[in-house]
Every structure is written in structure tokens, then in C-alpha cells.
């Protein structure tokens, strides 16, 4: 047998099984598995072929590669982004500025606006201090000069 020729351990494995369990019993079990009615396989073949013939054709699933998947995802992102950029919103910032007076803006909002800009100013100063080569003395000199100019 071809399998036996290529597989030296097969006989050992079979002998191991047959030493533990009776060989005759094993062959009886196998015979029982192989007991089928006459023409069983002819009928099974016919049943399989008729099931295949009666099966409705399924929708064909086309597999797409990684690059095609990326391209499709990118085109969706591009469409979404262009929709955000090009479709005009109904209520622009300019229209808000034209229609709303300063009295109508709540004080809390004005305060938060001022606070936000103060934060930015502080960040700017911090970045000046952190700049390479700058030191506190030069900054204080700069500040003094600046305040003198303002007083003049």
C-alpha cells in the first residue's frame, strides 16, 4: 500500500492498537461501519446530483484585494470630506455677525471668550521663554523698554 511505503510508523501504530485491542474486534467494528444496503451509493449519488440540480444559483461573491479595499475606503472618505467642505451651511458666521448685537450676547460667553484669548497670550509668553538662547533678563529688559514706549 502506498501509504505504508511512505510511512514507516504506520505498522508500529497499527501493532500498538492491535496489541491493546483485539484485531478481530477492530475489523468487526470496521465491517459494521461498512455495512450499507444494496445500491446505497447509487442512490446517494442520485440524491446528491438531484440536490445540486435543484439548488438555486447563489449570488457570486467577488473577493477584492487589499489595495482595492483601501481604494474604496479612501473614496468614501474623500466623498465625506468634500461634502463637508463644499456643501454650504445654512447659517454662516458672517450672517450671525450681521444679525446679532453686542447687547444680545450673554456676559458669560463674553467672559469665556476673553479668558480663552488670555490663555493664548500666556502660551505665547511661555513659548518666548522656552525659546533657545533667551533668558529671563533679556525678556525683562524687553518688557521695560516696551512699557517705557507706552508711557511716552
Amino acid at each position: 500500500m502506498k501509504a505504508q511505503q511512505n510511512d514507516n510508523t504506520l505498522l508500529d501504530d497499527k501493532a500498538l492498537v492491535e496489541n491493546l485491542f483485539n484485531k478481530q474486534t477492530l475489523s468487526q467494528i470496521e465491517d459494521a461501519h461498512k455495512q450499507v444496503p444494496n445500491d446505497f451509493f447509487v442512490q446517494q449519488e442520485q440524491a446528491i446530483l438531484s440536490a445540486i440540480r435543484n439548488e438555486s444559483p447563489k449570488a457570486k461573491i467577488i473577493s477584492i484585494g487589499t489595495w482595492k479595499k483601501i481604494a474604496i475606503a479612501a473614496s468614501f472618505i474623500a466623498i465625506a470630506a468634500s461634502a463637508y467642505i463644499f456643501i454650504p451651511s445654512n447659517y454662516t458666521t458672517q450672517e450671525v455677525a450681521n444679525n446679532v448685537t453686542i447687547q444680545e450676547i450673554p456676559i458669560a460667553e463674553i467672559e469665556s471668550y476673553v479668558n480663552d484669548y488670555e490663555a493664548i497670550a500666556e502660551i505665547d509668553w511661555q513659548s518666548e521663554i522656552n525659546k533657545e538662547g533667551s533668558n529671563l533678563e533679556s525678556i525683562s529688559t524687553y518688557l521695560k523698554e516696551d512699557s517705557n514706549k507706552t508711557q511716552e
Binding site: 500500500m1 501509504a3 505504508q4 511512505n6 510511512d7 510508523t9 504506520l10 501504530d13 497499527k14 500498538l16 492498537v17 491493546l20 485491542f21 483485539n22 478481530q24 474486534t25 477492530l26 468487526q28 467494528i29 470496521e30 459494521a32 461501519h33 461498512k34 450499507v36 451509493f41 446517494q44 449519488e45 440524491a47 446528491i48 446530483l49 440536490a51 445540486i52 439548488e55 447563489k58
Partner: protein, 200 residues
């Protein structure tokens, strides 16, 4: 025509039949490229139908269940054969489909109801006692029960190795494991059966 001529004629017929017999690979190419798929498929079915059915029948107790599973396997093969890339032997791929279908069936069966061993015992007893004396029938029942108590994968590997005489490389491809894993499954199966038989 004398006897020698008759013998020569017969052997040439046999030879021509053998030469004209297409390999699995050729039949698959024919299936994939031809509009008339059924002829090639039928050849493959006739060639492998019995081995597939017997392997499934070794795994499930009811012959009717084995028949249903085998039919499902072949329908799946029909639907997927167009995409078969011949990276493995057709028989290996076919047994892999059969392995998956059988495991699916057994898992569904487990969920539906726990196995009724007493009913199974009765079937084995009837089948065995009809053929042989009471003692050998008892041994056969005990061994069959021990096989049925093995985990599905170990049982499948044991059957392929002992009854189908497949090498471990092929068994590993079918069951989706390594060669070492397949060997371990076979030896664990023997050990477990021995334990079950000693216990009972």
C-alpha cells in the same frame, strides 16, 4: 480467438481504461473550465464517495445522519470547487470539508440532547450478537463505546490513522493541526480507550 488472444484483448481493454482515467486534478480543471460541470463532478463523486461516507459513519452512530452529512459535504464541494486552488490534494481537501461538517453536526447534536448511551448500547448489542457469540459481541460493544467516548478530534484522527492508514502529514492537513499534534491525538486516543476499557 484462442485463450491467449482473449487474455491479450482483455488486458489491452483494462490498460486503455486505465490510461483514459483522468486524475483528480484533470477532473477539477475540467470542472472549473467547462460549462458542463456535472460529468467531471460525477467522476470525482464516484471515486471518493465511499471513503468519505465510511469516515463520517465512523464518527456518527446513526447511518441516516452519516448519509445527510455526506450529502451536505458533496453539495459544499460542488459550490466551492470553482475556487479550489489545488494547493493540496483533492482528497485531503474533501476530507477536511467532511471533518468540518461532521464536527458541526456533532456539536449541534450535543447542544440538542446529551447522548443516550443506553440506546446506543442496544444497537451495538443487536448488531454484534447477530454476527458472533456473546463474548466477542461484548468486547465489540465495549470497544465501540470506548471509541465513542473519545473527543471528536481524537476519534477522527484515530479512525484516519488506523482504518484509512493515512500518514500524519495528511491527517494534520485534514484536521488543521501540526504533524506532532496529529501524532499526539492518535496516542492520546489509544491511551484514553485503554483507560475506559479498564475502568468499565
Amino acid at each position: 480467438m484462442n485463450n491467449k488472444d482473449k487474455a491479450l484483448n482483455h488486458s489491452s481493454k483494462v490498460l486503455s481504461k486505465f490510461v483514459s482515467m483522468q486524475s483528480d486534478q484533470e477532473l477539477i480543471i475540467e470542472f472549473q473550465q467547462s460549462a458542463h460541470k456535472e460529468a467531471a463532478f460525477t467522476q470525482l463523486l464516484k471515486r471518493h464517495q465511499q471513503k468519505v461516507f465510511y469516515q463520517i459513519k465512523r464518527m456518527v452512530t446513526e447511518p441516516a445522519d452519516a448519509d445527510d452529512i455526506a450529502q451536505q459535504v458533496w453539495i459544499k464541494v460542488w459550490n466551492k470547487l470553482d475556487g479550489f486552488k489545488m494547493e493540496s490534494e483533492f482528497a485531503t481537501w474533501l476530507f477536511r470539508v467532511a471533518y468540518n461538517e461532521t464536527l458541526n453536526f456533532l456539536q449541534k447534536q450535543k447542544k440538542q440532547s446529551s447522548q443516550n448511551l443506553s440506546a446506543d448500547n442496544l444497537d451495538y448489542e443487536n448488531a454484534a450478537s447477530a454476527a458472533d457469540g456473546p463474548k466477542s459481541a461484548q468486547i465489540q460493544i465495549a470497544l465501540e463505546q470506548a471509541i465513542q467516548q473519545l473527543p471528536e478530534k481524537q476519534r477522527f484522527v484515530f479512525m484516519l490513522r488506523y482504518f484509512e492508514e493515512y500518514n500524519y502529514e495528511k491527517i494534520a492537513s485534514i484536521t488543521g493541526t501540526t504533524v506532532g499534534g496529529a501524532k499526539a491525538n492518535f496516542h492520546q486516543a489509544i491511551k484514553k480507550m485503554e483507560e475506559i476499557l479498564k475502568r468499565d
